[in-house]
């Protein structure tokens, strides 16, 4: 899987016509400028990364390529020919295939039919030949080196396999350009490697690939060139070999990376949460720690070390076999989140789409979800009071939304996270447990979330933060608890916490990635 970029004949040799070129495309929705200058050139046989914060215009650009949006102005060429797509079908016909983060397959149809829908091979009497269809699908999967049974229905397939099916579809359509919009966000490590292997083999056959990701390690591992966007504008394009992560981040946010973790010292108060000898067979053992008012305690460690499980037990979602949880000096009843909430605990889960938010409800409803009773008169919710409270919190957290009435699903990841935080802050908590506060959030919003968490600590809220990102842990935490295989293996003060000490405690040997 090792790739040496210098050994490949770069696309800049000579001046070949790019397979796809978009220049100075603009798109506005009413008063909102979604894209001010969308510019990208994709060569045949390259993997081209598109990076930028949320709201930088990447999605709009992708939708223009896909034929979902029509640019107000700008020049759009495929293989040198000027094009104007009126719909998705025209973009497909031109040889552009787009694979979204969560592909939309037809769950009731077979895998083969999902690949060939609308252009099923015909056999005798002009009827669809299922056998040919299955055979062709099989061939595609063999070519991709992925064993998926073409006859099974799509229902129940993992997201990784669904993406592979989309790629198979793209190949069968003879796509010249493959656009992958954050394909790895929901994949495991093995699946990511498999996807990358497929992407590289497609590139080597001459497909131009546009790869959108927030993960820099992936971008630098996979891509030949990187285009940066910021605030709806094209900023720059680099050959991957010629730049560093810091340089890209600087261009993305327009400021220095040092500003990313602005933890301000806060006055540390009394113990709010005390966990004594907490154990759960096979999950975690003998967990002891305290969190004080105004203190940020980070739970660091590798994925699967049992950090989230401990947090869930503390909040009362999961049971535990032994030990005690004391909150504000009172012992908490196990397995009852309502008790934890009433006592003054808040829990911001890792997967905010599934557990933290009701995606179809408005921003206002989501913010006030945890404190309905406060706005209730005789069992009915007072809409005006609810909206006022929601507005107040949204303002304080700088949630960027057109209206409080918009569905949360329309917000960007960072703003969704702010809504989750607002939801809990509105309950006036004494302790907030935050699981992976900035997962899937772009660099610029990350620092806003960090500033926010730091502010909260400054107001005397105790914070227990689970994070897999070492810079976040080191930048934010007053104290770092490191877990490994269900046990706390180190407790480090801010002064003692450094990459080496945390990594050493998280893995049996120093090194590896967090």
């Amino acid at each position: 899987m090792q790739q040496t970029y210098s050994s490949r004949s770069g696309p800049s040799e000579g001046e070949p016509v790019p397979v796809l070129s978009l220049s100075h495309a603009a798109k506005t929705f009413g008063p909102v400028v979604a894209l001010a200058d969308g510019t990208i050139n994709i060569e045949a046989g390259e993997i081209h990364a598109l990076v930028g914060e949320n709201g930088a215009g990447k999605s709009t650009l992708v939708k223009i390529l896909a034929g979902l949006h029509h640019p107000d102005s700008g020049d759009f060429r495929v293989a040198g020919q000027s094009v104007q797509f009126r719909n998705v079908a025209e973009s497909k016909d031109a040889g552009i295939s787009v694979i979204y983060q969560e592909p939309t397959l037809f769950p009731d149809l077979s895998v083969a039919e999902n690949i060939f829908i609308g252009r099923q091979p015909k056999g005798r009497f002009g009827l669809i030949s299922k056998a040919t269809m299955v055979r062709e699908a099989h061939k595609l999967f063999e070519r991709l080196g992925v064993p998926i049974d073409p006859t099974r229905i799509a229902e129940g397939l993992s997201i990784a396999d669904q993406q592979i099916i989309e790629i198979a579809k793209a190949i069968s359509l003879d796509a010249k350009v493959l656009v992958m919009d954050e394909p790895t966000a929901a994949l495991s490590g093995v699946e990511v490697e498999r996807l990358f292997a497929v992407a590289r083999s497609l590139r080597d056959r001459g497909t131009g690939i546009l790869f959108i990701s927030h993960r820099f390690d992936e971008v630098f591992d996979l891509c030949d060139r990187i285009t940066v966007m910021r605030d709806g504008r094209y900023i720059s394009t680099h050959r991957t070999a010629d730049v560093t992560v810091e340089q890209i981040v600087r261009e993305m946010v327009g400021r220095d990376i040092g500003a990313l973790f602005p933890k301000t010292p806060a006055e540390i108060g009394d113990v709010v949460l005390k966990v004594d000898g907490l154990s759960r067979a096979g999950v975690f053992r003998d967990i002891n720690f305290e969190v004080r008012a105004g203190e940020i305690v980070a739970l660091a460690g590798l994925v699967g070390a049992g950090r989230t499980e401990v947090a869930r037990a503390v909040f009362g979602i999961d049971p535990y076999d032994a030990g005690a949880i004391t909150f504000d000096g009172r012992k908490l009843k196990p397995r009852d989140p309502q008790v934890a909430i009433t006592a003054g605990m808040g829990f911001v889960p890792e997967d905010r789409r599934k557990q933290g938010l009701v995606m179809d409800l408005s921003v206002a409803r989501n913010v006030t979800l945890t404190l309905r009773n406060k706005f209730t008169t005789a069992g009915l919710i007072n809409g005006a009071a609810e909206r006022r409270a929601a507005q107040d919190w949204s303002n304080r957290l700088q949630v960027k939304t057109g209206s409080q009435e918009h569905a949360v699903s329309t917000l960007s990841g960072g703003n969704q996270q702010k809504v989750v935080l607002a939801k809990w802050l509105a309950t006036d908590p004494r302790l907030l447990i935050i699981d992976e506060p900035t997962r899937g959030i772009d660099v610029g919003t990350k620092s806003e979330v960090h500033r926010l968490i730091s502010d909260l600590a400054g107001r005397g809220i105790a914070i227990l933060m689970i994070s897999s990102e070492l810079p976040e842990v080191l930048g934010m935490a007053d104290r770092v608890l490191v877990m490994r295989e269900g046990r706390i293996t180190a407790e480090l003060d801010r002064a003692d916490a450094n990459p080496e000490s945390v990594m050493h405690a998280a893995t049996s040997s120093a090194g590896g990635t967090l």
Binding site: L68, N87, V88, A89, K92, T104, L105, F106, P107, D108, L109, E113, I117, G118, R119, Q120, F125, G126, L127, I128, P147, I148, D149, T151, R152, I153, E155, G156, L157, S158, A160, D161, S188, V190, E191
Partner: protein, 348 residues
């Protein structure tokens, strides 16, 4: 990772082993439970009351099922796309009364022309439903609940207290429901031809597969460039044409047609489709299954009569059987989903 892949390869290439694959395919058929239930029902009833399976008995069974069968095929086209047409009973009533009126006005009209007029009339009524659903973007349940009453009202206004009787119609027209070919009534054979034709269309043509795609995920279908509105509209039109056909056959089969002909039939039709394994949320099921469901439902009623079960209990028993069929289907599909997920887990 490689060992996992090898394992998966071994299982996916297995279906090449013919016979076993064929058996497995039969076992996976959604129609199978209905078929088994139907066979059991007929067998048990026959063992208790041998008169149930005389030539006349079988003929009656098939005749009773014919009209519901055709309506269930049309309804299935819609349910598969996540739509429904509750106005089928009213459409059938209008066409049946219309058929009576034609014969009354032009006694020597060719029978084929009557069929053509009936189906075009039905198609028109269905197209109105389809246009309202696709243009107004209101759920079909609501639209067709409305047209159920509108069409019924038209029928009432048109017919008033008037009824047409079998004697008003030419003998050869009535004979369609009496004469048999190889033991099958002619109108039943007609229905079977309809089932087979629509089944081939649904499984073997691109527009047919599009209907499944639309019901499976309407948004994805739109994003994919499938002409959702056009396909749904045409499905409503086809359902109307089939209701029209059923209306003409109704006039052939039954003695009288009037203002209330076909009242309440829509629920039997939807029940037949659901019992036949057509998923009420769209995307899966087959017209063959729906037709079998129609046969099962009408046979249940007949066997309960043959078994001398009190009429009072018959409807309740039919209801219980509907629920059983749905629960069996649900459990089976959950099990399949679980199996798929497990095979998935092994793959990763």
């Amino acid at each position: 990772m490689s060992s996992a892949l090898d394992h998966k390869n071994a299982t996916t290439t297995a279906p090449a082993a013919g016979a076993r694959g064929a058996v497995a395919a039969v076992l996976r058929m959604r129609e199978l439970p209905v078929l088994i239930a139907l066979a059991l029902l007929v067998l048990v009833t026959y063992l208790i009351n041998p008169l149930f399976l005389t030539a006349q008995g079988v003929k009656d069974l098939l005749l009773n099922a014919t009209i519901i069968m055709i309506l269930a095929v049309g309804q299935t086209l819609l349910i598969i796309t996540r739509n429904i047409d509750l106005s089928v009973g009213s459409m059938l009533g209008l066409v049946a009364f219309g058929t009576g009126s034609i014969f009354a006005a032009v006694p020597d009209v060719p029978i084929l022309a009557v069929f053509a007029i009936g189906m075009v009339f039905g198609a028109l009524l269905g197209a109105i439903n389809g246009a309202l659903v696709t243009l107004a973007k209101v759920p079909a349940l609501v639209i067709t609940l409305g047209t159920l009453y509108v069409y019924r009202g038209l029928n009432n206004a048109w017919a008033g207290g008037k009824q047409f009787f079998a004697g008003d119609r030419p003998e050869e027209f009535g004979a369609l429901s009496v004469n048999t070919f190889l033991g099958f009534p002619v109108i039943t054979l007609l229905a079977i031809v309809v089932v087979i034709a629509v089944a081939i269309y649904m499984s073997g043509t691109r527009p047919g597969r599009d209907l499944y795609a639309i019901g499976s995920d309407p948004d994805a279908a739109t994003a994919f460039g499938i002409k959702v509105s056009k396909r749904v509209f045409l499905a409503f039109l086809a359902n109307g044409a089939l209701a029209g056909l059923a209306g003409v056959l109704y006039a052939s089969r039954f003695n009288s047609v009037g203002a209330t002909t076909g009242t309440g039939m829509e629920l039997t039709v939807v029940a037949a489709a659901v019992v036949g394994g057509v998923a009420i949320f769209g995307g899966s099921g087959s017209v063959t299954g729906a037709a079998l469901g129609a046969v099962l439902l009408t046979t249940i009623t007949s066997s309960l009569t043959a078994l001398r079960v009190d009429k009072f209990w018959q409807q309740a028993i039919v209801g219980v059987l509907i629920l059983t069929a749905i629960i069996i289907d649900r459990v089976a599909s959950l099990r399949t989903a679980k199996k798929l997920r497990i095979s998935e887990a092994r793959n990763v």
